[in-house]
């Protein structure tokens, strides 16, 4: 009589997950970086986000001239943190595509005892780490060279850390959802992360306050956790809600928030929204991934090559 297999202890599962994560993170870092020396690698990494920041600067400048008002801070800070949105989401989805179509290793990962989620997250860690560095560099370049009003003394560090951590949970969860979708679409799905980030550009209030959108689109924006995350980061770095000075109707000046819609929420309300979003997105993404993974196995997508 064959004895039943014993389920491994919980501590063994945790150790195995950590080991898979560690190896996947090492692998992800090698793939990201070992094609060039560190200086070339860093230069290439910062080039794209810096170019985007410059595009926004020129767009701002052609209309507003040389002044760097609150709106510029709104735009620049959002863009700096949006790099994390792009890289976190695309990093996870890209792993699926890269391992399946490029290195043709996905089937071996799937047939091994390696934990899939720790593997996915580990592979994406290098991209996210580099994105974080890029964000800091962009903020520094903005403050030193481009006229961004960023005062270290006025940053609300506590809120900044809390918002940041919750944001990373949310973004990682979104990334896992996209990784699942990447499992079942053809090769052009490789850009699913970046493409979704592009959509979020419109719907997250990254480049403009959601107030100017048509009503339906405004509702979409307010339903997305990334909207609140970006608002939280902007507030934390600015030391408060970003506002512009406008002429008053009876002479004098008035201070008006750039986004009155979002200004209606205080920090605690933002925190609650982000906490709730993080919990729901984390749970939902894991469930979704398991379901779509099952679909991928049914359709034989784990090792399918779809080039043209």
């Amino acid at each position: 009589m064959i004895g039943a297999l014993q389920r491994p202890a919980r501590s063994a599962n945790v150790r195995e997950s950590l080991r898979t994560f560690r190896i996947a993170a090492w692998l992800g870092w090698q793939i990201e970086s070992n094609w060039a020396d560190p200086f070339v690698f860093l230069s290439f990494t910062i080039l794209r986000p810096l170019a985007t920041a410059l595009i926004l600067l020129i767009m701002y400048q052609v209309i507003a001239g040389g002044q760097r008002g609150a709106f510029f801070s709104y735009l620049y800070i959002s863009n700096a943190f949006f790099v994390l949105v792009i890289q976190t989401m695309s990093g996870l989805a890209w792993t699926i595509f890269d391992d399946r179509e490029n290195y043709k290793m996905l089937k071996y990962i799937y047939t091994s005892p390696a934990r899939k989620f720790p593997y996915l997250v580990g592979r994406a860690v290098a991209k996210v780490g580099v994105a974080l560095l890029t964000t800091f560099i962009l903020l520094a370049v903005g403050a030193v060279f481009l006229g961004l009003r960023l005062n270290l003394g006025q940053i609300e560090w506590g809120w900044a850390v809390v918002y940041f951590l919750l944001g990373m949970v949310i973004l990682s969860s979104l990334g896992i959802v996209l990784a699942g979708i990447a499992l079942v679409v053809a090769r052009h799905g490789a850009s699913i992360g970046e493409v979704t980030a592009g959509m979020l550009l419109l719907f997250s209030g990254a480049y403009f306050p959601p107030d100017i959108l048509p009503a339906v689109l405004k509702q979409v924006t307010l339903a997305l956790p990334v909207t609140y995350w970006l608002e939280g980061m902007r507030r934390a770095l600015n030391g408060g809600i970003l506002a512009v000075t406008v002429p008053g109707s009876h002479g004098g000046t008035l201070t008006s928030p750039i986004s009155p819609l979002l200004a209606g929420l205080d920090n605690w309300q933002l925190l609650f929204i982000l906490l709730f979003s993080a919990a729901v997105s984390a749970a939902g993404s894991l469930l979704f991934y398991r379901w779509v993974e099952h679909q991928a196995k049914e359709r034989g997508m784990i090792d399918r090559l779809t080039g043209y």
């Binding site: 043709k104 053809a186 399918r304 090559l305 779809t306 080039g307 043209y308």
Partner: protein, 373 residues
């Protein structure tokens, strides 16, 4: 072993029949001086520069010599085999001959054309099929993929469609003609790629392990087609690399054995085996010995080479001795007794191509595959 021997003898007879000679009467293929050689290499070498690599001893390695002064002549109408272990230089040589790789030294000619200076002309005359290929576009059907590649050779649409249907029937893949490549199994994909090599009507075909990944039936179909194609087109040439001794023995008019970039021997299968008839081969099934004993047995007087592998039980070894002379078997028996071994069985074998390989290279392909796994 005797079943293998029978198969090899049968295969050899087929090869002999293809060449129009009885097995005992096989002689080296006589050259028709009026016809240009299909393939000729003159002192070809290829050296790879290595980046940040170390050898097994941890020493930095700057270069790797993949080919070292290879000289070969392949006649038109020959089915020429290239045998060798992994890393011997077979694929490197094929890449040079198919204009994918530049030689570091020497010259190569295909159909009388220099592969470096007249690459474009060479390409019109050749095709290449590699084993284990993943080429093709998954989103296209089998027909579309084959048609697309036929266009790169200038085949008319009518000819292409006709040839595609014919070839797919040959490899028994016609029911997949409108299936997407992404849905094919490895073996089906390999059969499709095999078809690609022939629909362009090439003068010289390079087959680099074409039966890799194919089941027995599919491999048999591929070998049969290759033979028939050669018979129907006596001015066409095939250069075949393979790991399967039986395949080489069955198909090839001549075989070159290559190792570490050097050709060790080049002759008909029969003549190569005849070399070893001067060196008898004995197979001994012995118990009570270990791996270290085998090394010691190799030093017994009259032993040219010995290789061994554990049998199914794991407690005994099957040893193959290549001896200088038949009389040396007595020293083998004595050496075994000294090592506290006991003989379960002992028989003399007709030399096989594998025996030739072992004699020249010093190890079998099976052992190499096992050690690599």
């Amino acid at each position: 072993m005797s079943n293998t021997k029978d198969a090899l003898v049968d295969g050899s007879e087929q090869a002999a029949a293809h060449a129009g000679l009885a097995l005992d009467e096989q002689e080296p293929v006589q050259r028709d001086a009026a016809r240009p050689l299909a393939i000729k290499t003159e002192n070809v070498s290829r050296i790879y520069k290595l980046r940040k690599q170390k050898n097994s001893k941890g020493e930095k390695q700057k270069t790797l010599v993949a080919l070292n002064g290879v000289n070969l002549e392949v006649e038109q109408g020959e089915l020429f085999g290239l045998l060798g272990p992994n890393g011997a230089g077979k694929t490197t040589l094929i890449k040079i001959l198919t204009t994918l790789l530049a030689p570091s030294g020497g010259t190569c000619y295909v159909d009388g054309l220099d592969v470096v200076k007249q690459a474009q002309e060479v390409r019109r005359r050749i095709s290449m099929v590699s084993g284990g290929e993943t080429s093709g576009y998954g989103i296209l059907t089998v027909r579309e993929n084959l048609w697309m590649f036929s266009q790169f050779y200038g085949v008319t649409w009518k000819d292409a469609n006709q040839r595609i249907l014919e070839m797919l029937r040959v490899v028994e893949l016609e029911d997949k003609i409108n299936s997407r490549i992404s849905g094919l199994s490895t073996g089906q994909r390999q059969r499709m790629n095999f078809c690609r090599g022939f629909i362009t009507d090439p003068k010289v075909v390079f087959l680099d392990e074409p039966t890799l990944g194919l089941d027995i039936n599919a491999a048999r179909i591929v070998r049969r087609f290759t033979r028939e194609w050669m018979q129907q087109n006596p001015d066409r040439t095939v250069l075949l690399t393979t790991h399967y001794m039986a395949e080489a023995d069955e198909l090839c008019d001549r075989i070159a054995i290559i190792d570490h970039g050097t050709v060790l021997a080049c002759d008909t299968p029969a003549n190569l085996k005849r070399l070893l008839q001067k060196q008898p081969v004995f197979e001994v099934h012995a118990a009570g010995i270990t791996g270290r004993n085998i090394e010691a047995l190799g030093h017994a007087p009259g032993v040219v080479r010995v290789i061994g592998e554990a049998d199914e039980t794991g407690s005994a070894y099957r040893l193959k001795f290549i001896l200088e002379a038949e009389a040396a078997i007595s020293s083998v028996v004595n050496a075994l007794a000294e090592q506290q071994g006991s003989i379960i069985s002992l028989q003399k074998n007709e030399p096989t191509l594998e025996d030739v390989f072992v004699a020249l290279v010093g190890r079998s392909l099976t052992a190499e595959d096992q050690s690599e796994s």
